[in-house]
């Protein structure tokens, strides 16, 4: 991959992250290096305690490395202040969380508009248009004015994905995005991620579920704060096919 000409979205160079717990120093990340290119669908796997969450926080600019360098879209994050990182998250990153994290008593379209509220370049009209476009892209064109408590888990997660798309980020960071969903809905969400991947989006999907790796283009396995495995998936399975092969839902 040395002669790779694709655009580098994320570059980690020997990233270490230590935490002070009482008198002990916990090494959550012990020197992690990798590059993620534009258009990749990467799963990051690892058991709990593997440093997975810490890595996600690094990638999401929620935290800064103790040492090493992290470049997001060519910008060094390590020395950034809180405020600058907030801005970077707002412009470059789309988050999808395990428990959706939608605002209560708020309509789908308002939820999706949220990131753009913190971007003064967007007027109310532009915001609304962008949110409607994103909701249409996740197949919720008919659910715009539904409030979060009027939707199913799958719908809520799709609203969350629309929210991650609305600022046109360079990277979508999904944290156990199917963790709270049943098998069928999980596949529906995976279909959506594969569709976004096909459209050229760069996606990082953090999970402890090895099954999901089969539907991504690359799989990074983390253990004890180090990369144990980093392989490209030559044989990407189609989530749509898997969904079709699921037994029909029983009415019981």
């Amino acid at each position: 991959m040395a002669e790779d000409t694709r655009k580098v979205i994320i570059e980690l160079d020997n990233v270490k992250r230590d935490f002070q717990v009482g008198s002990e120093v916990v090494h959550a990340l012990r020197g992690v290096s990798f590059k993620i290119y534009e258009g990749e669908f990467v799963t990051i796997m690892g058991t709990s305690g593997s440093g997975k969450s810490t890595l996600l926080n690094q990638l999401g600019c929620l935290d800064t490395p103790t040492s090493g360098e992290y470049y997001l879209d060519g910008i060094s994050v390590r020395t950034m202040q809180r405020r600058q990182r907030a801005r970077l998250r707002n412009r470059k990153i789309g988050f999808v969380f395990q428990n959706y994290n939608l605002l209560a008593k708020t309509t789908a379209v308002e939820n999706v508009e949220l990131p753009l509220m913190y971007n003064s370049e967007y007027t109310a009209k532009m915001r609304r248009e962008a949110a409607e476009k994103a909701l249409t892209a996740v197949g919720l064109a008919d659910r715009m004015e539904h409030k979060s408590n009027q939707m199913s888990g799958g719908q809520m997660q799709r609203v969350a994905i629309a929210r991650a798309l609305v600022n046109n980020p360079v990277i979508i960071l999904a944290d156990e995005a199917t963790g709270n969903l049943d098998t069928r809905t999980s596949f529906e969400v995976l279909v959506l991620f594969q569709k976004l991947h096909a459209e050229g989006r760069t996606i990082i999907f953090v999970t402890h579920n090895p099954e999901i790796a089969q539907y991504s283009s690359r799989n990074i396995v983390l253990r004890d704060g180090k990369i144990r495995e980093d392989v490209e998936n030559k044989n990407i399975l189609s989530a749509a096919e898997a969904l079709a092969n699921l037994p029909a839902p029983q009415d019981d």
């Binding site: 949220l114 971007n119 929210r163």
Partner: protein, 406 residues
Amino acid sequence: MNFINLLKIALKAIANNAFRSFLSMLGIIIGVGAVIIMMAIGQGSKNSIKDQISSMGSNMIMIRPGGNMFGGVRMDPSDMQTLKVEDYEAIVKNKYYVNYVSPEVTTSGQVIYGANNASTTMYGESAEYLDINSRVVAEGEMFSDDDIKKSSKVCVVGQTIVDNLFPNGGDPIGKTIRFKSIPFRIIGVLKAKGYNGMGMDQDDLILAPYSTVMKRLQAQTYFGSINCSALSEEYTDQAITELTGILRETHKIKEGAEDNFSIHSQQEIMETMDSTMNMVTLILVVAAGFSLLVAGIGIMNIMLVSVTERTKEIGLRMSVGASGLDICNQFLLESIMISVTGGAIGVGFGWLVSFAANTLLNFPAEVPLWSVVVSFIVCVIIGVGFGYFPARKAARMDPIEAIRYE
């Protein structure tokens, strides 16, 4: 983030917790309402007292025997007898800034006509009493200087006396009534003036020549007081200086010695009244203000709960790009809106109560405009002051922990 977005977010948050927001507003509503009502009562009573005093004649000057007393000074009884006929005559002779002069001797007692009697006060005066006190004789006439010279047993009565002594109607003029068993012939009836603001019936009086009251009723040689009026309100100070000069001369008071009389103007009384009322109003407003402080603490309490409860929301907002300042502003605006909305309702509530008191209970209450402005400013200060601590707490949250908060 721009202000309109912030406003939308804050409004939404308040609407989502409408009942709770209303409860925390309630403290402010009651507090501001109480302050407004207190200010309205203070202002209203002040104005009504002012009106009454000036209706008595704002250029009135009162001379009383005895010097100004401070603290527990022992007083010589002779000090109460310092105002004599010579003083009155000297004032009448030398006055320049003083317009009208009337000595006054009062005595209370029973007045009888036929089978009817009433308790009242007789005022021994000069004819200029009418000019000083803005009174008019409606029927008959005022006693003359000749009556004073002769100490005639004539009198002018107020309407209440007429009502009490002549309950079956009939012309009181020319009738002879007895006051403390001395017969007085009624020669005039004063035009009714009604009650004054302190609830005193201004028509329950009998006017008689001062000489008659002094010689025939009281057997005394001194006046209770001398009332004057200045040429106009502006000349009050000059008139007081003039009167002081005249009286010091007739009393032969040496330079440097203290006056054995005291002079007060209506204006001065009005000013004293004003500052007393201001003090009372201030005390009332401060007491009501404490409830605002309590309300502010209530808002802080609710905001702290709200911040904890919405930790996840704060984490989400931070993840999608809200800076600490954005979060701080959001919560600050929320608390400001609660307190200002509460304040607005409180002003309305206070105004309504004042208005009702005014129209239904005839209680003098006027909401001064500045109190509304001050209330609003205070509400903003409360919002910022008590919202800052919770807002800062929200702004300092770590997004990583906040987003995973359960």
